[in-house]
Symmetry: C3
Subunit: 430 residues, 3 copies
């Protein structure tokens, strides 16, 4: 009875400056396309070099129905493969992290080397050609210690553009010489796009994030100037002054801070370093460093917070003492994984250099608050009476850019894909 | 391979006097239509005035994916709104019951008044028109203290017919001056129509409801006269005599008791007051009042039980000392919520005037027995070998009327809806 | 965007000697067809005569949405019915096993006799014809104590072929005079065809089944001769000698052992009796009998293991002291029930004649190991990068035959069914 609009119609008729129509958040066919178009054909953030510090260290990452095996080889290069045996399809590595020699399938013992070549397969007879049965590779790139993969046969060609622009910002924090102090997975009961939209504004911060707003200043995220009274106008001006003088100081230290934003690229990104309140050192309750041993070779702690956002699925905050990375991974139309990792200098010792609870307190609290908001919103947009509402042009501009990016990427690939893909063809690189 | 009959075909070929074909109980597309046609376009029972006794009291009711916010205003009027913020769609109130001032969205602080008007929205700039962003209203009517809502833009116009006919029956029990002594939710593992069919006959009572059959007499629900032996014939005649003399007595007291039945109206209903066994006072194990303080201004307790049934989703029993209301709400093709509330005079005190366990014992036991029967039947009708079986024309006449009503309402609206509804149009009133 | 291949296309283009394409393991529509074509139109193994040893003993078996009631009558015949009341469809018996007199529906008391005839139905009036409302029968056959049913109106006509061939093999173990010492259900997180494929090869045994490989010799399941070194070649030759001499001995005792294989029949099967290692008596850790009281009238325990495999859903091992039967029942595209039963002589007493833990140890361990492998494989074949891999022609020949049978039966019935089935027609026998 109800005629469902097609995904193409929903994308085409999207009203700018407004939240998306409900089916784009809730429908199973849209979710499947999101996984296929957004998460299989774009560069997605999946982890950090310190996840696999030594040769033989590997980790697995689930992207929809796919499992990707990420492995550091003897030559310190990081390789990525589809985590599936070429014999009868068994998963090869099931642990999230492990250290291995060769990759041996548990089912019938097929054995692959670190480059994915099939080294050994019993009972297959003399005519069997092992060279046709190596593991299928997955594109992998690193950016100043952050690991990105792309599951498409042909990855978007603008990764370098992002890497060149952003490496000077993140590089000084020397992520490759850090370690993962803590990592945890939070499942949000909402669509992944609501998770991303929530991340792209701080309009909701004052009312919902008592811990996060101690070091953060709302002005950094935009405001409606007409709404400010004399007091807040002075406050905003003082914030701008502090940001300008800090930027000048950081520039001298070789730490770029100016906003760089190319959010509408296939590999969309944005970065800027913002001054923090109080002591200005870190995302902590007292605004001071959580880790006594600073990252890289830093000698000063008041470096503010360098933030780095990517489309479609990550954001990161780099401070003098630690960094926090966030990976978003859709699990279902109404379930989204947020994996958060805290990085400190690799020589920092828990107990001596940092108190773990203090290190993670602000973002574990903030993540849970955001998860509650996402669940609240997913519940509401699932409601037949919901209709897209207006974004604030002052404080929700990046939300709008996320939606624009999403609509553009989906529209582009839906067309391309319809023209090029034979039925049932595997999407992965060969 | 299997060609699935359409809903229209299933409705059209329904064999009168027989249970429905399996897909009408089990198929997901039928369930979606049930929610859309039956539960969004008809008057449904959702609660009682004592659920929101004071100004600022509100409750939320879930109807499929919709959440409805029911709120008593300062003027004591009860309003109903779609429980979804006009900004980015967050749910406004999540508790089942709460007392609030204005309605404030937790996400970004948008604030609505008790009539739904948007009073305040930060950061939206001077050009933003709050008057276009009020909460969307939902139709609400009360009948002698019972609250009904309709989610359609245009509600069925025969609510008054039911209200005029039934108010004289229920009115004397003065529900507005009662309180909810107890409420609980039971989830039945079966389709909602099986829950309703089970409610519409007492053929199963003798074999399944040892507590309920103490005050109830099966004869009140029909019987096959040819099957009665001399003993039971005399018994039935004596029951008819008792009913006639009680009715005469109740009429003198201003308590109508004669059967009124208009079950095939869009807003279908049926009511009658039946004599109870034993002391004749209440649905209790000893057939005596459970609450010493009687409802309204009653001075006599032997008022039998006034029963009120509605299509599609409620039944109610009003006695001198207490009333019980039942709301049915489909959750999934095979899951149905039954919410039961016990009402007593608002001045009755637990412990002094009533023992809660005694008050609720008969219906908590009976509900669980019915839930078991519904689960047993849902399991069976899901079976490919199931075929519709015959209803008894003596004791399952109201089941047949429920099915007739269902088939007629669905058929009518499927046609209307196909003609009128643009794709994706919100169903709700504007 | 992605064009899904139809089931017909997937079957037609299946590459011989390779595992199936992913959708045949994972897609919901394929699963539904598997249930309809394979599990409702073929003879499936569901239990053993000792499950219902006495008149009035019954058991229920779930096959997809169907429940089948299997009942031994006063005349010792075993009957099978659809377990659904002809009145309003309630399930009649819900326990897995029970002992009953007549079959009485709990809902409204309709009562059926042991042949399925409706004996009694209250309130239905004089014109109601009970003879049209008996329980619907299900085809049932026994083979040397094993119970098979077929839910189709017309069952495959080659059951006799299997029974005649196999009865001489199993008959001597006298299953009808055994008892079920233990039964348990294991749910494997994978498609039922992966469960079956896993059962049809021992290529994986050496690496995964430390308990099972004590009595078993891999050579019995094939090997690649070119891969054997001098030592293993001698080992294989010695195994062949042992098998030959044991076979000669068994033949004298009236115990056939030669391989019989008709796996591609509609009712496909295979049997052979293989010598066991060590003491050669049983599937135990010490290769000796687990039950002191031998089955049937056996006086010798070194009878090796008679194995019997059927398409689509069972395998069985019969030794001198006990037998083990395995029933596979699909629950969902990615969930499969494996029900295992251990049978011993009906006069054997636990504690005296056998230690239960010792009796069941090998196969409870092996089943769990197999379940892990099936889950691992289901995870992998669900992966977009999965593509069918090659089977070993030496050790995976029976896997290939299972796939060939599956593809042939599906293709045949898809065609037949499309031609013959009216929409919505019940599949069951009338």
């Amino acid at each position: 009875m109800t005629v469902h609009p097609t995904v193409e119609e929903l994308l085409q008729r999207r009203e700018q400056g407004h939240s998306l129509e409900a089916p784009l958040y809730t429908r199973a066919d849209v979710f499947d396309l999101d996984m296929d178009v957004i998460f299989r054909r774009h560069w997605i953030f999946v982890g950090v070099e310190p996840d696999v510090p030594e040769p033989g260290d590997c980790m697995t990452v689930e992207v929809g129905a796919s499992s990707v095996l990420i492995l550091r080889g003897e030559d310190m290069q990081i390789h990525a493969f589809h985590n599936v045996c070429r014999h009868r399809g068994a998963r090869l590595v099931t642990a999230e992290k492990a250290t291995i020699g060769n990759i041996v399938c548990r089912y019938h013992g097929w054995t692959y080397g670190e480059t994915g070549a099939l080294l050994f397969a019993e009972h297959m007879g003399p005519e069997f050609d092992t060279s046709c049965h190596g593991l299928k590779p997955v594109h992998l790139r690193t950016l100043a210690g952050l690991i990105f993969i792309c599951l498409a046969a042909e990855a978007p060609d603008d990764f370098d553009r992002m890497a060149e622009t952003i490496a000077p910002y993140i590089g000084p924090h020397d992520i490759a010489n850090s370690k993962v102090a803590y990592s945890y997975d939070l499942i949000e009961e909402g669509n992944w796009k609501l998770t991303m939209e929530n991340n792209r504004e701080c309009y909701h911060c004052a009312g919902n994030h008592p811990e996060l707003t101690i070091p953060l200043q709302a002005y950094g995220f935009g405001f409606a100037p007409d709404e400010l009274d004399a007091f807040h106008r002075a406050d905003a001006a003082s914030y701008e002054g502090a940001q300008a003088s800090a930027s000048a100081r950081w520039t001298e230290m070789g730490l770029p801070s100016a906003e760089r934003e190319e959010l509408l690229n296939a590999t969309g990104f944005r970065a800027e370093r913002l001054v923090l309140s109080g002591a200005g050192e870190s995302h902590t309750l007292d605004t001071r460093r959580a880790c006594g041993k600073l990252m890289a070779d830093f000698t000063q702690a008041d470096l503010g917070a360098l933030s780095f956002w990517t489309q479609p699925n990550s954001w990161h905050h780099f401070m003098a003492d630690h960094a926090v990375t966030f990976m978003v991974m859709p699990l279902a139309p109404n379930r989204t994984l947020v994996r958060t990792k805290w990085l400190v200098h690799k020589d920092a010792a828990e107990g001596r250099d940092y108190d773990l609870e203090n290190l993670i307190r602000v973002w574990t609290a903030t993540n849970q608050q955001d998860a509650d908001l996402v669940a609240l919103t997913h519940g509401g947009v699932s409601e037949p009476a919901y209709e897209p509402g207006p974004y604030s042009r002052f404080t929700e501009g990046l939300v709008e850019k996320f939606c624009q990016w999403y609509v553009a990427r989906m529209s582009r690939h839906l067309l391309d894909a319809a023209l090029r893909m034979p039925a049932g063809a595997p999407v992965a690189a060969e």
